[in-house]
């Protein structure tokens, strides 16, 4: 399924919660850590015990401002509110969040295809504890009871809310992928969807193509991967179109993505709409960062993915569309620094990019640790024709596993001596003599036969010959 039927347009806005990479929680000194024993990183503040008081974590504010700067937001003075609701994962019975005065407002994120998604706001709030539903099926509705771990309670979050600017499932995925790169570059969050440090809700509606009025939206929760995000948007849009086509009306509601069933299902309808009764948090004073602090936070944003792509594109020259994909992959996989360093050490940029994305990406951890000098030396051997592409790939695998080394020595140890020019000439001559008809056609101007002869020479030399050297020998024989 690729979206709703023709004539309809999908409109999506996202709410992204990302956990900040601080050492401690937002309002207390408990460790902000994933995967520890349940209820070991808790104190009176994050358990909501009476008489405890929150004190704001300076580093959480700094990281929130970094995110704002990276998303081109206006960073302003802000305040905290209490959002009141009853749920066992929130022991205070309210969540401290930012309401009408968020720290970051009005930015945008530009995607690799050049489209821009507006950012409404990116505010600070605290995370909730983690509830596991227990019972025979393990599902929410049929659970017998629930168990709660408050280690996550009070972990600092930034909630990023986009404008409804997204027009397809693919664009939504591209947005989240790009945002993840931005958060990692800013060292604000590790942004791991699989560990829940990046969580997404999607507001989805449909409208007839060419119309302006937004349709009624549904909010989809439980999107734990880019894949679920894309599938859920497509299925939900198709469901809404079917409802409208059947003469019905879309009802505004919260729906849950059922991964196994491949559909969205309504959450049990609420007796009344949520009324959070926000009011100012009396225990926290306003937050008003001065210009110096804002500038320091902005300076902490590392090189963003867009800048990294531009840097590689400049090295390559004018990238082909295939190279554009390759340089995006290199940035996504964190291999761009290696490519840049290898080029600085004398490697040809296009070849460095291809070998990084195709050969090195099979083991990213090892690839990122590879010595760029060794990588560059290997690429030079391949470029000069001293090693064939097949040989170069084999040597590169050894270099990657060892973290570096002398590619020439590795090649010799594998018996990858390039054929001496004289030997190669002899082989080419033998091949030509064995195929007089083809040679005659080649002499008559059928250049396609160069490929045939190269293939025959490769076969005769078990792949040790270099393609360029063979082409040179053929040209010389033709005279």
């Amino acid at each position: 399924m690729s979206g709703p039927s023709t004539g309809w347009e999908i409109v999506v806005g996202l709410e992204v919660h990302c956990e900040l990479q601080t050492k401690t929680k937002l309002f207390c000194a408990c460790p902000n850590a994933f995967g520890d024993e349940p209820n070991t990183n808790v104190c009176p503040v994050c358990l909501g015990l009476p008489g405890s008081l929150p004190v704001l974590n300076e580093q959480a504010v700094e990281l929130a401002m970094r995110i704002g700067a990276a998303l081109h937001c206006e960073v302003r003075s802000s305040s905290f509110h209490r959002k009141n609701y009853f749920y066992p994962d929130m022991p205070k019975d309210y969540q401290i969040s930012q309401y009408d005065q968020p720290i970051n407002v009005g930015g945008y994120l530009e995607l690799p295809d050049g489209s821009r998604v507006g950012i409404v706001r990116a505010h600070i709030e605290e995370d909730t504890g983690k509830t596991s539903h227990r019972g025979e099926s393990g599902r929410i509705h049929s659970a017998d009871y629930a168990l709660v771990d408050y280690n996550r309670s009070g972990v600092p979050l930034v909630e990023i809310v986009t404008e409804p600017d997204i027009r397809s499932a693919a664009q939504a995925r591209a947005f989240v992928a790009e945002l993840r790169g931005v958060l990692v570059a800013a060292e604000a969050s590790d942004a791991r969807m699989e560990e829940g440090s990046l969580r997404i809700d999607a507001n989805v509606s449909v409208r007839a193509e060419g119309t302006e009025q937004l349709g009624t939206r549904c909010e989809i929760k439980n999107l734990n991967s880019l894949r679920s995000l894309g599938l859920a948007i497509e299925h939900e849009a198709a469901r809404q179109v079917a409802v409208i086509d059947a003469g019905g009306r879309v009802v505004q509601e919260t729906r849950h993505w059922d991964e196994q069933g491949g559909r969205t299902v309504p959450l049990r309808s609420k007796e009344e709409a949520f009324d959070y009764r926000y009011f100012p948090e009396p225990d926290l004073v306003p937050l008003d960062p001065d210009a110096d602090w804002k500038a320091r936070a902005a300076a902490g944003v590392g090189m963003l993915p867009a800048e990294r792509r531009a840097r590689l594109a400049a090295l390559v020259g004018s990238p082909t569309s295939q190279q554009t994909d390759q340089l995006q992959a290199a940035v996504d996989q964190g291999l761009d620094d290696l490519v840049v360093a290898a080029v600085e050490a004398g490697a040809p940029a296009g070849l460095a990019l291809v070998r990084a994305v195709n050969e090195l990406a099979v083991d990213l951890v090892a690839a990122r640790a590879l010595d760029p000098g060794s990588f560059a030396a290997l690429l030079q051997l391949e470029e000069s024709g001293a090693l064939s592409p097949t040989q170069a790939k084999t040597v590169l695998a050894t270099l990657r596993d060892a973290g570096g080394g002398d590619p020439g020595a590795i090649a010799r140890s594998k018996g990858f001596e390039a054929l001496a020019e004289a030997t190669l000439e002899g082989v080419v001559r033998d091949v030509v003599d064995a195929h007089p008809d083809e040679w005659a056609r080649y002499l008559a101007g059928d250049d396609k036969l160069a490929g045939f002869f190269t293939g025959q020479v490769m076969k005769a030399t078990s792949g040790k010959a270099n393609g360029k050297a063979v082409a040179g020998a053929l040209r010389r024989l033709r005279g």
């Binding site: 000194a29 929130m90 539903h133 227990r134 659970a143 009871y145 004073v285 306003p286």
Partner: protein, 103 residues
């Protein structure tokens, strides 16, 4: 606060009570409706003051940026934490079955 706020109805009080998970009897609803209406009326008196010359503030205390460094401190022991729970299992708080997802 607008002019109509004086007419706080019984339904408003019932609504607020249900949001706060308070089960009020009919007699309590009547009593609290009168009391709450008085509180709202007082807010209306305040709203009637001329504050054109007063700088708006979001907080009564003239302080900003009260922050702490991001340094790990002491946590409670899990034993102590769970001792306060009516029921626990697997190092976690055991709670009645939950209807719906967190808002």
């Amino acid at each position: 606060m607008s002019e109509q706020s004086a007419t706080l109805g019984r339904e408003d009080v019932a609504h607020v009570a249900s949001l706060a998970r308070l089960a009020l009897t009919d007699e309590e609803l009547d009593r609290f409706t009168v009391q709450l209406a008085r509180v709202i009326d007082h807010a209306r008196d305040v709203a009637a003051l001329d504050v054109a010359e007063v700088e708006p503030t979001s907080h009564p205390v003239p302080m900003r940026n009260v922050l702490r460094p991001d340094v790990v401190g002491e946590c409670l022991g899990r034993h102590e934490v769970l001792a306060a729970a009516p029921e626990c299992e697997d190092g976690r708080f055991k709670v009645p079955r939950v209807i719906g997802e967190a808002p």
